[in-house]
Amino acid sequence: MKAKVYVRLKNGVLDPQGQTIQSSVERMGYDFAKEVRVGKVFEIEVESEACRKDLEKIASTMLANMIIEEYSIEFEA
């Protein structure tokens, strides 16, 4: 199965990449995007959900920088 770890910037933390993408979308003539924020997904092939504890450890110490980011975990068959 697949574990997915989503990492995103905390609210309030500046996202220069998201801002640049948003203004490019506007420059292309679209006005539907009110805000763009960019995050990451780590797709990890695992045996079962038994690894959740370990995964949390990895997510909080390595995949996310908890000073500016937050994460969430999902499992998918």
Binding site: V13, L14, I67
Partner: protein, 584 residues
């Protein structure tokens, strides 16, 4: 409803002042100076102006000992950066080094990156195009994973910002010692080129001239960062942590191009970077330097987050922002240039003549403070200092027997992380962009040709902090001497230096003694070598849980060439060349 009710600001008490870093005496002094109790916004403004970081209150009396004048010095300490003339023809370089130690410990990548961003802005606000960057770094030993993580993060952050901005990072130093375990040092240097007649200063002149805000929007980033950089670290630091500032080198590159394009016109009067203590220090400095005054409508400041209040706006340390004063009637011309570079430029106030900085929110005056007294008459301390007893102990060096196996000794030395090659570091920096780097990293000094001519400069950054611990006076002298030697052996004439004084808590007499001794040693060497200090920065309170770093007065020396093709690299060029030993 008044702003005070609307935002529910707390009452101003000695307690509240203390929470912002003002001592009881300082708070009493403020009340006396104003003839009243400041309101909450004013208190925030004053406390950041009075912070060690902004006011240099512990160091100013001693910094006056540095020589600062020479015929080639165009701008000495006191502006965003210092300037020297390279030839007699108006070609100048502008440079400065600055610390970003505390932010780099909290978040190594962003802390180092924003440090680079800040020093680059210091240089280009003067009208100079940055053409070289350096960095002087100190970390704990690499056997601790935490230190390794900080080291890698800092180098990646510098690489990210400098490379994207497009300035070559051409050299620096890296030392590892356990005294930096909880307190790494990250000192960033930048140098730019400017013609003498094109230099800009931080001025707010001309009654009725518009004050224009340019660059990135303001968020709740790093509020009270300057105050935090003026305190020791302890377990509470974590909780007080403001939003970490995120650097946007792309925006800064646009800001550079827009500012330089604007500076070619005669639309603007003065310009100042919003660095530590953001809008607060920039507005007060500009007003006090010109003896004018400034009115700011804070609700017009471009904001990134909803519901920000005037207090937060004044103290935000969001990056990539500048404040400028334009000539009345040229607002649209300024806007046009910033539009071209997809940047905001918003009129947020005007120059006045009553000596006050007056802050408004939706038409209501929410703060009024006289600029000059706050900017110039911040507290100044002659803190007590004395040689600590442990110096006697330190002087008793153990006797060392001559080692039997010199080969082994050499190998051990070469394998030491401080001595080993720093290639891993400088390969991550673009050190060739701008086609000016004519001496690549790996030599004693970096050599940069200026404006694609044969004129150029050599730059070297040096400080041996173990030496400074053993003897701060001689260590300070040696830092100047070594950097001057590195410049000289590259073929250039040392002309002036900038410095970053990294020390522990100045309220401790032994730290203050290290500080005073090192400054006096540096001053003596600088006088003899005729290399004045033209800019610099002081970083105190580099202590964690009461353990100070070694005294680390980083020196960056700049020398000039008439002909850079005559530069000399410090390595053997070919087989069978003769090797000479010079000196005693």
């Amino acid at each position: 409803m008044s702003v005070y009710e609307k935002f529910g600001f707390p009452e101003v008490t000695a307690e509240a002042a203390k929470g912002m870093g003002l001592s009881a005496e300082e708070f009493a002094g403020v009340k006396k100076l104003l003839g009243r109790t400041p309101n909450y916004i004013e208190l925030g403004v004053i406390s950041s102006m009075y912070s060690e970081h902004c006011s240099y209150k512990s160091s100013r009396v001693h910094l006056a000992k540095f020589p600062t004048k020479a015929p080639w010095v165009v701008q000495g300490p006191g502006e965003n950066a210092g300037i020297i003339e390279v030839d007699n023809d108006g070609l100048c370089v502008c440079f400065k080094v600055e610390s970003h130690n505390h932010p780099s410990f909290i978040e190594p990548f962003q802390g180092a990156a924003t440090g680079v961003g800040g020093i680059l802005r210091d240089v280009f606000t003067m009208g100079a195009r940055p053409v070289a960057a350096m960095n002087s770094l100190r970390f704990g030993k690499l056997d601790k994973p935490k230190n390794r993580q900080i080291f890698e993060g800092v180098v990646a952050g510098i690489s990210h910002y400098g490379n994207c901005f497009g300035v070559p990072t051409v050299g620096g130093e890296v030392y590892f010692n356990s005294c930096y375990d909880g307190n790494p040092l990250v000192n960033a240097f930048a140098l730019g080129v400017v013609r003498k007649e094109n230099i800009y200063l931080a001025k707010a002149e001309g009654l009725g001239n518009p004050v224009i805000y340019v660059g990135a929007k303001t968020g709740r980033d790093g509020i009270h960062g300057a105050t935090m950089a003026s305190e020791e670290f302890n377990e509470n630091s974590e909780a007080k942590r403001p939003n970490v500032q995120i650097g946007d080198p792309f925006k800064e590159k646009l800001l550079l191009e827009a500012c330089l394009e604007l500076m070619k016109t005669d639309f603007i009067v003065g310009i100042q970077d919003m660095g530590a203590a953001g809008l607060t220090s920039s507005s007060f400095e500009m007003a006090s330097k010109s003896g004018s005054g400034v009115r700011l409508d804070l609700d017009r400041v471009p904001m990134r987050e909803k519901g920000m209040n005037p207090y937060e706006i004044m103290l935000s340390e969001s990056q990539e922002r500048m404040l400028m004063v334009a000539k009345k009637g040229y607002e649209d011309k300024v806007k046009e240039i910033f539009d071209k570079w997809d940047l905001d430029a918003v009129v947020i106030g005007e120059v006045t003549d009553d000596g006050y900085v007056r802050l408004f929110w939706e038409g209501e005056e929410v703060a009024a403070l006289e600029a000059a007294p706050l900017a110039d008459e911040a507290p100044k301390y002659n803190r007590p200092y004395s040689r600590p007893d442990y110096m006697d102990e330190l002087q008793r060096l153990p006797k060392v027997d001559a080692p039997a196996n010199l080969q082994k000794v050499l190998e051990t030395l070469l394998a030491n992380e401080t001595i080993a090659s720093k290639r891993w570091v400088w390969e991550q920096y673009d050190h060739m962009v701008r086609v000016g780097t004519v001496q690549l990293p790996g030599s004693d000094a970096a050599v940069i040709r200026l404006n694609e001519s044969e004129k150029g400069v050599a730059i070297s950054s040096d400080c041996n902090s173990r030496f400074c611990l053993l003897n701060p006076f001689e260590g300070g002298k040696a830092a100047i001497a070594e950097s001057a030697r590195n410049v000289a052996v590259s073929g250039a004439r040392p002309r002036a230096f900038t410095n970053c004084l990294n020390f522990g808590n100045p309220e401790k007499p032994e730290i203050m003694w290290q500080f005073v001794s090192a400054v006096e040693g540096m001053a003596e060497a600088a006088k003899v070598l005729e290399t004045p200090a033209i800019s610099g920065n002081v970083s105190l309170y580099n202590e964690t849980e009461g353990k100070p770093v070694h005294p680390t007065p980083t020196v960056v020396m700049v020398g000039v060439f008439d002909d850079v093709t005559k530069r000399i690299g410090s390595y053997f060029k070919s087989m069978e060349s003769a090797v000479y030993l010079l000196g005693e």
